[in-house]
């Protein structure tokens, strides 16, 4: 079963060095998951200052700066993994470096037919 692990943290909290360490540790985790056959995808995201929100209302496109909601913790990256069950997904989430400072939200993925594969 696929789980999306959404990584939330205070994007101002990390120094450049800490960010590099976090990337290195996350890459290592991704490699380990890959060798177990649990890895599907993972990426860090640019900070919310780089975000653009898009809405379409009455056929009209509204484009605005910034994320949809201001919160203390921002979505900063994700892992998409294949896990046997929730406990296995939780165990992976706990190994993501940001789990030690921020929050990792574990969301089961809905499988719908007709999506391209690979």
């Amino acid at each position: 079963m696929k789980y999306m692990l959404l990584i939330y943290g205070d994007e101002q909290a990390l120094s450049e060095n800490e960010r590099q360490d976090c990337y290195a540790e996350s890459t290592q985790l991704a490699q380990q998951l890959h060798s177990n056959g649990q890895y599907l995808a993972a990426n860090p995201l640019q900070p919310t200052a780089m975000a653009t929100s898009v809405r379409v209302r009455d056929g009209k496109r509204l484009v605005t700066d910034g994320p949809f909601a201001e919160t203390r913790e921002q979505l900063g990256g994700y892992f998409l993994v294949d896990a046997k069950n929730l406990d296995e997904a939780i165990a992976i989430a706990a190994r993501i470096p940001t789990a030690r400072k921020g929050t990792v939200e574990v969301r089961p993925v809905v499988e719908i037919p007709g999506l391209p594969t690979g």
Partner: protein, 420 residues
């Protein structure tokens, strides 16, 4: 067939339902992989039992018979529905071939299933009130109405919690497993917390005189017994001991008019000796494991109280020592407060007052009525009437429970009139 035989069989089926339905349900959930399907299968199996047992007699192993019948009924139902939904054919086949071995429901795996059910209902991905509702419903077999009454809420609220929990168990795939050794301590803590919550809900409200809430404590003790039977971990032993030792004082802790009676003023002949003996022996068993946690230490403290024939004979040195250990295991201000009260009993009120004032100065327990009540009591014993009065009033302003309020008012009015 005579009516008498039918009546007899119905009685047997009812008795089997009471003793076996939770076992059968736990195993059917594993075999069928779904709570709702398992409940339906359980219901079907008992319906067939009433019919068939009157004709052929009660089977030698009713539990195995019920599991096998329930499983068969579920597969059969899937086949019938498969006419409308082709995917069910495959599922039914899978189920039939993967679970056809009778060893799948021998006694040992059935006991494991009960443990799986407990851990699933108390999974941390479910909120605490949902864990409680699921445990009482699925493990204890209480009805939605009974749970609602016990927790002073409405049946639809409880039903909704249970529906949501089952959906999350299915859709987020919460596993039906006993946690791995690495996760066991944390996960067992969650289970013990649920059991203790159920117990306290029944115990602390018992002064209200509501019988259903007393039943809740009894239910928690039953759960505690089941747990140590399945998983005799030291803290599980400690929690059962703690519940038995507290429950042993049930009839002594309120007066016939519903007033609160302090431990030191209780009529110890009303204490339930049988529960005390069992509680003490469980504490000893847990302590001998050398892996002692907060429940065991609290139970040990309760055991020291239980063993004192009169309040004045209480071994306060031992209690202070146990609170020291408890504070190391659980460094909370409430534990610190209790330790201060024990020190006051051992070394005199002034020693205790110094400690309580230090806790209050940190403002950790500023809004905790028992901290002010304890302070008031020590001031009273030191003859500091004005201070005692102020602290009783503070406690009174913070308490929400009616019997406690009346107790504090009595204490307040018993203070000497003259302020000094």
């Amino acid at each position: 067939m005579s009516e008498d035989v039918t009546k007899q069989v119905r009685e047997v089926v009812d008795a089997v339902y009471r003793s076996e339905s939770r076992h059968v349900l736990a195993t059917l959930i594993r075999l069928l992989g779904d709570f709702n399907a398992a409940e339906e299968a359980l219901h079907d199996a008992f319906t067939v039992a009433v019919e068939q047992w009157s004709r052929d007699g009660v089977p030698a192993n009713p539990r195995a018979w019920l599991v096998s019948t329930g499983r068969f009924k579920a597969i059969d139902g899937m086949r019938r529905r498969a006419r409308f939904d082709a995917s069910l054919t495959e599922l039914a086949q899978q189920l039939e071939s993967s679970t056809s071995e009778a060893k799948e429901w021998d006694d040992e795996s059935v006991e494991d299933d009960r443990l799986r059910l407990i851990f699933t209902c108390c999974h941390p991905a479910l909120s605490p009130e949902v864990q409680v509702a699921m445990t009482l419903r699925e493990v204890c077999g209480l009805t939605t109405e009974e749970i609602a009454r016990a927790f002073l809420t409405t049946p639809p609220t409880v039903a909704q919690r249970i529906v949501r929990a089952k959906r999350k168990i299915r859709d987020a795939r919460i596993p039906y497993e006993v946690p791995s050794e690495k996760d066991l301590p944390d996960r067992l803590d969650a289970v013990l917390r649920v059991v203790y919550l159920v117990f306290n809900e029944g115990y602390s409200a018992s002064s209200g005189g509501s019988l259903t809430r007393h039943d809740l404590s009894a239910e928690a003790i039953r759960l505690g017994r089941l747990l140590i039977e399945l998983l005799p971990e030291p803290e599980a032993l400690g929690l059962l001991a703690l519940m038995l030792l507290h429950d042993s004082r049930r009839s002594a802790r309120t007066s016939p008019t519903g007033e609160l009676v302090l431990l030191e003023d209780q009529d110890r002949s009303l204490w339930n000796r049988d529960q005390i003996t069992k509680g003490v022996s469980l504490v000893e068993r847990s302590l001998s494991s050398r892996r002692v946690g907060p429940y065991t230490l609290q139970a040990a403290i309760a055991a020291v109280h239980a063993e004192a024939p009169i309040a004045a004979a209480t071994d306060w040195s031992q209690i202070v020592g146990l609170y020291e250990l408890l504070f190391q295991a659980d460094p909370s201000p409430v534990v610190e407060l209790n330790r201060a009260v024990a020190v006051a009993m051992r070394d005199g009120p002034l020693a205790g007052l110094t400690l309580i004032d230090a806790i209050l100065a940190r403002s950790d327990l500023e809004n905790y009525h028992l901290a002010h009540a304890a302070r008031a009591d020590l001031c009273r014993r030191l003859g500091r009437t004005a201070e005692a009065r102020a602290s009783y009033e503070r406690a009174l302003g913070l308490t929400k429970q009616e019997p406690e309020r009346r107790f504090l008012e009595r204490r307040l009015s018993a203070l000497p009139d003259k302020t000094c």
